[in-house]
Symmetry: C2
Subunit: 239 residues, 2 copies
């Protein structure tokens, strides 16, 4: 990559396309499924505890969610559990995996505009097959010169990807909706981070928004990104 040129790297779920709303809907269906046995709040808190405990071995994504939901169902429904719950959970999983990609507003136009001017990359965590299927189905794949699905978005993994891609941390600009995964580790390694919030945030991804950090920017929509890039280039030219 050309030093001094911004290397724009995008998160995928809830940054380019909707995702968390489908998980929220799956959680609601799961609570309804176990409504005969426990209150929705109990189902939800038990499921989250199970998911959190299983992330180190399952990783992120729909398949791990479904296995954790099955474990929760066994725990909460016990011997009254039947093939009905299993069937319903497998259907919820399949529907999430097969759901068409729903791009967020402004994403396609913005990415096409930027891709004609800069190399773009995509860095996402989650289920490998599902993320790649979504990227292929999104129609956006050809706009990225680099893309990778990683198992955790921590500082170490970002560093490894920057070395692999030949990008200096000072040129790296990460754009995403998760303060925990897209913003904090990138600021820590010396990159720039642009937060475009999504209306819903999974509790596992919640973190404090950095205050007055010189390399942090909050944008309310993807459509504002080209103006940010222009301002960044103008300011870099003056330095």
């Amino acid at each position: 990559m050309t030093p001094g040129q911004p290397f724009l790297c995008f998160d995928a779920d809830d940054t380019l396309w909707h995702n968390e709303d489908a998980f929220a809907e799956a959680h609601r269906k799961f609570a309804a499924l176990l409504a005969d046995y426990h209150a929705p709040e109990t189902v939800e808190s038990t499921l989250y505890a199970t998911e959190k405990r299983n992330i180190p071995i399952y990783g992120y994504g729909c398949k791990g969610f479904t296995l954790s939901a099955l474990e929760t169902a066994v725990e909460l429904a016990g011997d009254t559990m039947s093939s009905r719950e299993v069937r319903a959970l497998l259907t919820i999983c399949r529907e999430m995996l097969l759901e068409p990609v729903r791009l967020l507003p402004g994403v396609e136009e913005t990415l096409r505009h930027l891709a004609a001017r800069h190399p773009l990359a995509l860095l996402t965590k989650g289920d490998l097959a599902h993320q790649e299927n979504k990227l292929r189905a999104s129609g956006l794949m050809d706009l990225f010169t680099r893309h990778a699905v990683i198992s955790e978005k921590d500082e170490e993994t970002y560093r490894r990807m920057l070395v692999l891609w030949g990008v200096e941390p000072s040129d790296f600009v990460m754009i995403g909706n998760s303060i925990k995964s897209d913003i904090l580790p990138v600021l820590a390694l010396g990159g720039r981070a642009i937060h475009i919030p999504y209306p819903l945030t999974w509790q596992h991804e919640r973190a404090e928004v950095p205050e007055n950090h010189p390399r942090f920017t909050l944008l309310d929509s993807m459509a504002r990104l080209p103006a940010w890039v222009d301002a960044y280039l103008a300011s870099a030219a003056k330095r």
Copy 2:
């Protein structure tokens, strides 16, 4: 990478460490679990049909296997299925995911020997979190200058990785146990492929061994690889 130098790239499951024997054991446990309802052959053939059908959406690995096994159990046991089967399958999945890495004979010494002389890479398909956990636990991670988990080992994906890694196809040497995934696509794109068979092959990975292909080599053990590399370098020096 230096042109003309071999770029040695290793498959992981059943090439560096045991894997298929654990899946075979999981299949046996699953057949035993459903022994009250159906003959082991019926269980096995229904499971394989379900797995094969689900690979495009689940991808490879233990979590997809477990979800396919649950789907098969619902299909074969129907309403007689209970929390017992679910619990047992979740335990089988967890045991596979938490099983310590068992390196194959000669792997560690051979890789240490080669890593001191050449850049090594690792390219594996399967469950992202599980593959990365195994690589970390193997003690071999630092020996690889490049590693990636990919969703499918087809010619297109190999080409993409070679571009990303800056490797010429003619310098690429893939070492693995699967004719279908490690050998045929690499030969097709102009690379060299070294087949080190594993005693068990999942039926999805079975394919014809190439006959008399000039860039194909069969080795009976990883320990023979350094001699092959020396011979390759000697022959390259003469060209």
